[in-house]
Amino acid sequence: MKLKPTTQNGEWHWLTGGIVVSLLSIATYVLFEKLSYKDYPFGITAGIAYIAANFKYLFSSLAQNPVIQNNLTSPAAFVEFFMLFGIIIGAYLGAKQSKNYKPEVIPAIWEKYHGPNVWKRFAVVLVGGFCLGLGTMLAVGCTTGNILQGWAHLSLGSMVAGACFFIAGIIVAKILYPKTGGR
């Protein structure tokens, strides 16, 4: 086991990344609790749900929906909405700084196995995104909420949810890339 802060390709060691994120995760939780945003410890979903909630201005039938109302009035959802901007800026700065900033439409490995058709990738991504959105609402949290936070709290619900993320994810990945199954 090498314990250097960065690896050869300029990436942080997983230990470095893990410690930074754990400190951030704890600090965020304490902060949210002090500001009494009890229901939403550190997550991404609520921020995206905040965007979804604003669709009530397009479709008036959504205005009375409890999920929409909840996400529009929750202060934590508001904070997490701005977290999204932070993540975008942070990832941009990280990519620029490590000279990894390479805009692309579809991932290179996808193109290698599934061809350069942009619409094919977009269709799969749209369905995938839909599944992420629906799944995250049903499971009350995404990878950040259920694993980074939920596993760290040893929540029974998050343990099961996280295990299900991987079970389904592994099956779908094997279907998408069948030839890479054996080494």
């Binding site: 995206i48 904070v79 993540i87 700065l93 991504v125 599944c131 992420l132 990878t143 040893l154």
Partner: protein, 178 residues
């Protein structure tokens, strides 16, 4: 209001930067993990989980914070599986999806649109889901469910996590992109 905006951006900034620099936002990494070929994300994640677990339980014992373990219901199972399908198709999870937008990967925008639609679908059908999948739930506090003191469970969990990290690291010693 301004404070909330600043807090949100600051937290996100550190998170996005750390995700990007650790390299866990890369498409081959997420899919590579699901193909059981590249365990860096798993090692990174479990490191974060182990340290935060010790932090949360210590602060909880000291009375600084109150832990809110998430209860178990069918939504966790069904939603978890649907989420996993999405993660497999997309090659990102929601956090890395947002980070990918910052890295100028255009398909991430389509993924975000999909997520918004998925959330709206849930919102529109919330009555159905709340009365079917999300009704009965089991207490999420594992030490209450098992009836064991949390300070017995935390070290055991830490050892399990570290064990998995150790095994994953053994497998991971050579570099591969699928």
């Amino acid at each position: 209001m301004i404070l909330q905006i600043i807090i949100g951006i600051a937290i996100g900034l550190i998170f996005g930067y750390a995700l990007q620099r650790t390299g866990v936002t890369k498409y081959p990494r997420v899919t590579g993990m699901l193909l059981l070929k590249d365990f860096k994300i798993l090692k990174f994640m479990l490191t974060a989980v182990t340290f935060s677990m010790i932090g949360f339980y210590t602060l909880g014992s000291l009375g600084v914070i109150e832990l809110h373990p998430k209860p178990l219901d069918w939504g966790k199972v069904v939603g978890g599986l649907i989420f996993g399908i999405g993660m497999g198709l997309l090659g990102y999870c929601p956090g890395t999806l947002i980070a990918r937008i910052g890295e100028a990967k255009k398909d991430a925008w389509v993924g975000l649109l999909g997520m918004v639609l998925g959330i709206l679908f849930f919102a529109v059908n919330v009555k159905f889901f709340k009365t079917t999948l999300m009704t009965k739930n089991i207490n999420g506090d594992i030490s209450v469910v098992l009836g064991i003191n949390q300070w017995v469970i935390v070290p055991i969990a830490a050892l399990v996590f570290i064990g998995i990290i150790y095994l994953a690291n053994k497998v991971d010693d050579f570099k591969k992109n699928f």
